[in-house]
Amino acid sequence: MKKKPFVNKKWIVILVIIALLVTFDLLDDQKSISTRAIVLAMSLDKGQNERYDLGIQLLKTDKNNNQEYLTFYQEGDSVSDILETMNYNVGATVSLAHTMVIVVSQDILLEDKDEALRYLLENQVVTYNTMLVTSGDKPEELLSAKLSNGIGSGYYLGQVLRTVAADFGVVPVSIKDYFMLRYRIGGCIYMPYVTLEKQGENSYLGLTKMYATNGQKGLILDEDATKGLSLVATSLSNGSLTYRYADITGEADIVQSFSNISVKNDNAKITVNVSLRDTSNVPDSIDETKCLEDIDATLTGYINKCYEDCKAQNLDIFYLGQYCYAFKNPLANEAEYLDKLTVDIVIDGNLK
């Protein structure tokens, strides 16, 4: 009769594997979360002599749960060098994996040719949902602004942008959207334009405009043009519109809207389907047709403003070139396709 082995071979193999894995885990230098600095927001600017100015915003909490938003700034030749140096400045390994927003200067958007942002995307330094914003003020000032609610401005911006994703107005743009749009014909991108207003010790952030650029020219879209962009660029589920006819003024809520663009020969048709709900107390007295006429005119005006303002700067804000390519229109191969295209805006609205 065969003798039973003292220990089954299977368990010896399993023990060897566990021993090896544990040993190598001890040998390697992996930083725990307590030695990492979690960056909530970042600023990116062009410094002197083609260098970068990078700022990060961290949250520091103590035993009594007191929160303090810290900002650190560093200059360097490349983003990777700056982050390496930041580890020493901060005293912990800087982790951008939870960065909610990056404040990008217009110099970066117009002069950098996406080098810094591409580094962040290709090397997965930040997540693909990280939002991008720009401002007329220096990104450093925006990041270090002290808000009246005590929250860090960068973190606050990140929170706000996530709540206005489907709102009528500013269109939040993530870093993945930025590159998806950048690689389209025309290379035009847009992002929220943040304004900073200082009142005494506190600062207030304004988020009603957008900024559009193709890497060569940039344009700040006013509130009406921004609304026009949001109608075409995203599906909306929140917002309100005022209508006026005769001596009646009322308000309608946007329930849902989505757009469709088609290109045939030298004509581009932008169709926006919008469902509205009237908020008046006496709906029976409202003339639906006249309401819709007024709303149609308003929305058409917004979209037209956005398109014409951008067209004047040769910015293909609605990616008509890409649609020409998609529908095999020969205009896509022409440099001046925007000048040759006529645009019809159709608003298909219904009011309940």
């Binding site: 040998l27 992996q30 994996a97 290709e122 949902n129 993945k176 690689y183 890409q322 998609a326 095999k328």
Partner: protein
């Protein structure tokens, strides 16, 4: 130890292993490479190649229903030549594809861990699975299938994507598709390792159930591979050429990631499992090839694992080198060996085992007749 049964699997297990073989490394870097070559037509290239692979898997099934490659009554010379070619192919593929998995683990899951550590941990597990045989690999895949299914269901339920279908247009079949299919051949042809398994029906099998599972496997492969490619192009457009780890980035597009942060644990777990099974199959194929030359030896899977380890750590070392080797002339050798081996074997079994001369169905492990001949020893599976 009785190893005579360690290549016997059920048809449902074959379908699962075929799905894992086809899917695993098509959802990592291949999406980025296809977009860089074929642009918006990348999903068409994926559809074409996946269709060929599914058809080849059907041929493989037709072959192994007569027995695994070592069991087929091949002339000695042809057996040795096939074994040598398939060994080289399996090791090359194992090294090239595993380097993607090792790179992903070392740079994305961890913070720049050395490849040697990750590779050692991976190869030890895969070596053990290869040593235990195809039956164990199939059973492991069957048990862990529910992890993959739950991960998939999770992402379907919580998906939040803004799909830009215009990125898929225009729909045309340009030469870029052929160029892409040609350049990235190494990432396809994932069926030759299945030749070292043999299929026998479960005594409890019902005909309709197998048909249902087959249909699900084919649809699942298309949905996962081609569907992922479509979503990738819709979300990233031409910028997909600079976006790696497609499965991770697409799976990060969910409501939870948008609200509170990334929730990619289900995806990571299921992919790492698939990667381990896939590499185990390749090492198992290598081991079976060596068995044809050296007979049944306990150290064969260790030799295969060591070969793969040395190739990955010292031969390849980084993704860029792996990409250069994978897109070199080696790709033709690897792909066409897989392709021609399967075609040749299919013709052989069809000629040799015609209907009238078809041998009796291979006994399944539960066959009482087989138990009388060689009962499994203590502690065996």
């Amino acid at each position: 130890m009785n190893n005579k049964l360690n290549d016997r699997i059920y048809p449902e297990q074959f379908l699962l292993l075929a799905f894992i073989s086809i899917m695993t490394f098509k959802v990592v870097m291949l999406a980025q490479y296809l977009v860089s070559e074929a642009g918006n037509e990348a999903y068409i290239a994926m559809t074409v190649m996946i269709s060929i692979e599914i058809m080849m898997c059907a041929l493989v099934y037709g072959i192994i229903s007569y027995g695994s490659l070592p069991r087929l009554d091949l002339p000695k010379g042809i057996r040795y030549v096939l074994a040598l070619l398939l060994f080289v192919t399996s090791m090359a593929k194992c090294a090239l594809l595993a380097s993607e998995g090792v790179s992903y683990v070392s740079t994305t899951i961890y913070d720049n861990v050395r490849w040697s550590y990750v590779c050692l941990a991976l190869m030890l597990v895969c070596c053990y699975l290869a040593y235990k045989g195809g039956k164990v690999i199939a059973r492991t895949a069957q048990i862990l299938f529910w992890l993959m299914a739950l991960s998939f269901a999770f992402h379907v339920v919580f998906a939040k994507t803004d799909l830009q279908f215009v990125n898929l247009l225009p729909l045309e079949f340009s030469a870029d598709i052929a160029v892409a299919c040609d350049k990235y051949l190494v990432w396809f042809g994932d069926y030759s390792c299945l030749l070292f398994l043999s299929v026998s029906k479960s005594p409890n099998a019902k005909g309709k159930r197998l048909a249902v599972w087959t249909a699900l496997a084919i649809i699942g492969t298309f949905v996962c591979a081609v569907g992922l490619m479509v979503i990738f192009v819709c979300v990233f457009g031409d910028s997909g050429a600079i976006v790696g780890n497609a499965f991770l980035n697409v799976s990060s597009l969910n409501k939870i990631a948008f609200m509170i942060g990334s929730m990619d644990l289900p995806t990571v777990c299921s992919w790492v499992v698939m990667c381990t099974i896939r590499l185990s199959l390749l090492l198992y194929a290598g081991k079976e090839c060596l068995k044809i030359f050296f007979g049944e030896k306990w150290w064969l899977s260790a030799v295969c694992a060591l070969t793969a380890y040395l190739l990955i750590v010292y031969g390849i070392g980084n993704l860029k080198t792996g990409y250069s080797i994978a897109t070199s002339a080696l790709r033709y050798f690897v792909y066409f060996t897989d392709f021609i081996a399967v075609i040749a074997l299919y013709i052989f079994v069809h000629v040799k085992y015609k209907k009238a001369n078809k041998p009796k169905a291979l006994p399944s492990p539960q066959n009482p007749a087989l138990k009388q001949i060689s009962p499994p020893s203590q502690g065996e599976e």
